[in-house]
């Protein structure tokens, strides 16, 4: 097991390194000079351009810049934003909680709804309701999140006027304490619903497929032959084994949802990582882009390793094979 896990850790580290190299190379190959954008396009002062270029080390060869970047990274320094001068780590610390809250809530709610529907349909596999729900999940899969978000705003905010349109808090009110939390929750209902609808099919399919697989296992047939009640077989044996792939999928999905919530943040005007990222792209704020991408790659890699570890703990067969 240790060998298997160390191999996965190595893959994770390699993934982060490749992501970093790719990101660095792409950003430095891209047309457009961040210093020009920083000082303004209309006849920039050459001296100012020179000073800023030297300050950010952009006059040095790309390899030297990369070495310096990696060196700083190992000391926990992600660099400073070209635009605001603020440390990238501070900006990420400010923006990450909201994105995590969004991603976490979406995944949590989706896993419950998708899981329950999956179990329900797996027990009736091949039936009319199962086929209907199966087709319905494809419909959910096909709806672009940003469009769904706009339609929900149109219906619940513009027409019915029961929920706020955009933003995280009501600007005209100055709530405090519990009222503030309630106001925030109200603002998050539509964004979270949009995200949940998009990812429910994923959990529905995983749960349904693994429950069906477990129901067909030989030991289940043996238990039935031995006279054990269907209820007991299901909750004691089928469900416990079938839930493993769903639980592990949550870990990986959570990391991906940090990026996945970008569009939702933009549609609903939420000040998270995603919307700041789009602003940074237009400003060509390289350190911010690299910092965000690093955080994302590290989260995915860490989650993959954690998931593998949990999987080997939960399922002895994986442990056996990997040894």
């Amino acid at each position: 097991m240790a060998r298997y896990l160390s191999k996965r850790v190595l893959t994770g580290l390699l993934c982060v390194l490749v992501a970093l190299c790719l990101n660095f190379a792409l950003i430095h190959m891209a047309p457009g000079d961040p210093i020009r954008i920083l000082v303004g396009n209309k006849e920039p002062n050459p001296e100012l351009v020179q000073v800023l270029t030297e300050k950010y080390g952009l006059d040095q060869p790309a390899l030297v810049q990369f070495e310096k970047y990696i060196g700083n990274l190992l000391h926990g320094d992600l660099g400073d934003s070209y635009y605001t001068g603020e440390p990238v780590l501070n900006i990420i610390k400010q923006k990450l909680p909201l994105t995590l809250l969004l991603a976490g809530s979406m995944v949590f709610i989706a896993v419950i709804i998708g899981g329950l529907l999956g179990v329900f349909c797996a027990k009736r596999a091949g039936g009319k309701l199962d086929t209907f729900l199966g087709s319905f999940t494809y419909l959910f899969d096909s709806v672009p999140g940003y469009w769904l978000g706009l339609m929900l705003i149109l219906l619940f905010a513009s027409r019915l006027k029961i929920l706020p349109t955009t933003g995280l808090v009501s600007i005209r009110e100055s709530y405090t304490g519990f009222a503030h939390i309630l106001d925030m929750a109200k603002h998050l209902i539509l964004p979270i619903t949009t995200g949940v609808i998009g990812i429910v099919p994923y959990y529905f399919r995983i749960t349904r497929a693994s429950v069906i697989q477990q129901l067909g296992e030989d030991f289940i047939v043996t238990l039935r032959a031995a006279g054990m009640s269907e209820h007991k077989i299901f909750y004691k044996y089928v469900f416990r084994n079938a839930i493993i792939p769903t639980v592990t999928a949550v870990g990986i999905h959570l990391a991906y949802m940090i990026a996945g919530s970008t569009i939702i943040e933009i549609v609903f005007g939420l000040p998270g990582l995603g919307s700041y990222l789009m602003t940074s792209i237009s400003r060509r704020d390289y350190p911010i882009l690299m910092g965000f991408y690093l955080i994302l790659s590290v989260s995915v890699a860490v989650m993959m390793i954690v998931v593998d570890f949990v999987y080997t703990l939960l399922d002895p067969r994986v442990r056996h094979v990997s040894d």
Binding site: T11, L26, S142, W147, A259
Partner: protein
Amino acid sequence: MKKVKHLIHRYPRLIFGLCMAFVLVIVAVLAPLLSPYNPYDLSDDMMVGPSAAHWFGTDKLGRDILSMILYGSRTSLIIGISSAMIAAVIGTIIGAIAGYLGGKADLILGEIINIFMMIPSFFLILIIVALFGSGLFKVMIVIGLTSWTGNAKIMRGQALSLRSRTFVKASEAVGENRMKILIKHIIPNGIFPIVSNTTMGIASAILMESSLAFLGLGDPNTVSWGQLIANGKAYLTSGWWISFFGGIAIIYTVVAFFFIGDGLNVILNPKIRNVTNV
């Protein structure tokens, strides 16, 4: 007729998906003939709701939404099919080489596939398109280059199983070139799951392109459904139809390709034919 009924009964999603895709292709090909107006033409009928003259209404510049949607099908299909094909070719080649050669080649290529699978691709596409420009060609290349890993995994599995089959062993025994075996036996015999995965890939690529266009990173010189939805965002209350119909068009197209992919998957995989065809 009986045969058709039997086919529909047996593979409802595949037949349904194929019919939907057929209509879409006809619409894309005949867009200039079917469109009541030129989608780029401005007119005085600004922000007109759905009516007899403009079935899906007009936008803030007086452009006909129906015509834009009909022309937009071309953008979606071109990007969807081309990106999925690029991903299919790259994935098939890498997967087949890794699975067939085995040993160190498999170890290295397998690790490369794993690494690229882990890299968050949407963010990567976003950065590349934002930094390098957003032409139609660039968008399809970028989507294709970042979505090949699923195909590579499938093809690797196929090649691993095929390489121990008698006909491959026989070709090796008579001294046939390994490259030739790869092209003549491994890839043609293992390609079927790639076909169904690529059909699903078309749907994902169309969704990806529309998301990029919505974020303002699509090709500004072509009509795109995502762009149409983005244009309507500011007029959601006064002109809901601008965003609404673009979304319906995307859903229709994506559902069609998902259904075809799923149907092919059911046909090609007898294990899931009976119970797990969701």
